[in-house]
């Protein structure tokens, strides 16, 4: 079976996890695609760690306000009822367990729920930003990632080799081939995304995966 990377499918599946009114922090990059795929009737309260609740869509060209940016430094708008706060309050909200979900990109995620995404020693060291606080503080941590590295190795690992962003904090991993839950030191395959099959996923992934008895194939 041929594999074609598909970020849209990751965003589509994650968008179906939420219920109306959930407080969610979306990481920069792939996770922000999630808002484009929310089902009708589901509106999220988006928290941005640089000091905002009620993140709205990107403003139209010419309407940008230099005093309003998201956590990636891009212009933003605020929905009615939104509010601003300083960074200590923002991380009080995060650490204090007031955020329902955080969705983050990863370099590696392992079957113990460890996640690495901030440092490739000697090569790329962007820093953890708010990711360590978000993974500790959010009620549910969702790792969003293409299933494979460019080399072909799976990003789902037995043990992360890179420096950890979070130790044992990841609850779900959604890739472009399936959705996994991490419980008891292994991945549990909850869904596989057509055309991929559980057998193919197990063969291509060097990690311990239990195929859930309720595992189903989903067309996204």
């Amino acid at each position: 079976m041929d594999y074609t990377p598909n970020k849209e499918n990751i965003a589509k599946r994650i968008a179906r996890i939420f219920k109306n009114g959930d407080v969610v922090n979306l990481g920069i990059g792939l996770p922000t695609l999630v808002v484009d795929h929310l089902p009708e009737g589901v509106t999220l309260i988006l928290q941005s760690e640089n000091g905002l609740m009620g993140l709205g869509p990107a403003p139209e060209k010419g309407q940008e306000d230099p005093d309003m940016v998201n956590a990636g430094g891009a212009p933003l708008s605020v929905v009615p009822g939104g509010c601003f706060f300083d960074s200590a309050t923002s991380f009080g909200i995060i650490r204090g367990g007031h955020v329902d979900y955080t969705v983050l990109g990863v370099l590696e995620v392992d079957q113990q729920g460890n996640l690495a995404n901030y440092k490739v020693p000697g090569k790329m060291v962007p820093g953890m930003g708010g990711a360590m606080d978000l993974t500790i503080g959010a009620r549910v941590v969702i790792a969003a990632t293409l299933h494979f590295e460019p080399s072909g190795a799976s990003r789902l690992k037995r043990h992360c080799k890179l420096p950890l962003t979070a130790a044992g904090e990841v609850n779900y991993v959604v890739t472009d081939v399936g959705m996994f839950e991490i419980v008891g030191g292994r991945f549990h395959l909850l869904e596989c995304f057509a055309p991929y099959t559980p057998e193919w996923i197990l063969e291509k992934t060097d990690a311990e995966i239990h195929v859930s008895t309720s595992c189903k194939t989903v067309s996204l």
């Binding site: 941005s48 760690e49 640089n50 000091g51 905002l52 306000d65 230099p66 005093d67 309003m68 940016v69 998201n70 956590a71 990636g72 430094g73 933003l76 605020v78 601003f84 706060f85 300083d86 960074s87 200590a88 923002s90 991380f91 995060i94 650490r95 460890n114 901030y118 440092k119 000697g122 090569k123 790329m124 060291v125 962007p126 820093g127 953890m128 930003g129 708010g130 990711a131 360590m132 606080d133 500790i136 503080g137 420096p163 950890l164 962003t165 979070a166 130790a167 044992g168």
Partner: protein, 228 residues
């Protein structure tokens, strides 16, 4: 209320000396004190330690550079304490070449350490960073069966911050996400210089609307828009 001195950006820069620990507000350049940063660049001060949540944008491909990044470019800092440097290629280059020491601190921990520094608190306990490199060399303390890292307060010699509006007493109001680390840094330095876009008379700001009380602010600098 007494009025605070309104000084020029050049005077502000002159009060920052080699060897100082400098806090600068701003998040990816939003809410950074750009006028003071330009003056400090012109003054050519070196040998500083920077505390800032990030080092803004410096993109080698597009040439985009903002916030504190022009000072990083001039090698003004021997040490940088930040949570994220990923969008500043020059900071990464200096770190990888071991030209500048970079200490990465989780963003929430950085914010709270600064808050502690300003609030007379000897540190705080956070679960953030447990089981990661952030834990190295730190005391782990268990409270009610949960483990935490002891994180220590951060203070600075000088904080340069940015607000939308001030009265002459130094009460500050911020706008949008330009608030970020500015109110925290206002509390945690020996000398606090606030760059503001608008300065009004004492009494013209509703006391209910003040974000940073004047007691934290030592002097004011008017923002100047950069000629492009």
């Amino acid at each position: 209320m007494l009025a605070k001195p309104i000084i020029s950006a050049a005077e502000a820069a002159g009060r920052i000396k080699s060897g100082d620990v400098l806090m600068s507000g701003g998040f990816m350049g939003c809410g950074a004190p750009d006028t003071i940063i330009r003056a400090l660049k012109a003054a050519g001060t070196k040998g500083l330690t920077l505390i800032s949540t990030d080092t803004a944008f410096h993109d080698f491909k597009t040439g985009r550079i903002n916030g504190i990044a022009p000072l990083v470019q001039d090698r003004a800092f021997v040490r940088i304490i930040a949570s994220h440097i990923g969008l500043n290629h020059e900071t990464q280059r200096q770190m990888n070449a071991q030209e500048t020491e970079v200490e990465l601190v989780p963003q929430g921990t950085l914010a709270e350490r600064i808050r502690c520094g300003g609030a007379g608190i000897g540190g705080f306990l956070t679960p953030t960073g447990l089981g990661t490199e952030v834990e190295e060399g730190k005391q782990v303390i268990t409270v009610d069966d949960r483990s935490y890292l002891l994180e220590r307060p951060l203070k600075a010699d000088v904080a340069i911050i940015k607000a939308k509006k001030a009265d002459k007493a130094g009460n500050l109001i911020y706008a949008g996400t330009a608030r970020n680390f500015n109110p925290l840094m206002a509390t945690a330095a020996e000398l606090v210089i606030a760059e503001v876009e608008e300065i009004v008379e004492i009494g013209e700001i509703d006391p209910n609307q003040v974000h940073t009380p004047s007691i934290f602010v030592d002097c004011l600098v008017r923002s100047e828009t950069q000629e492009s």
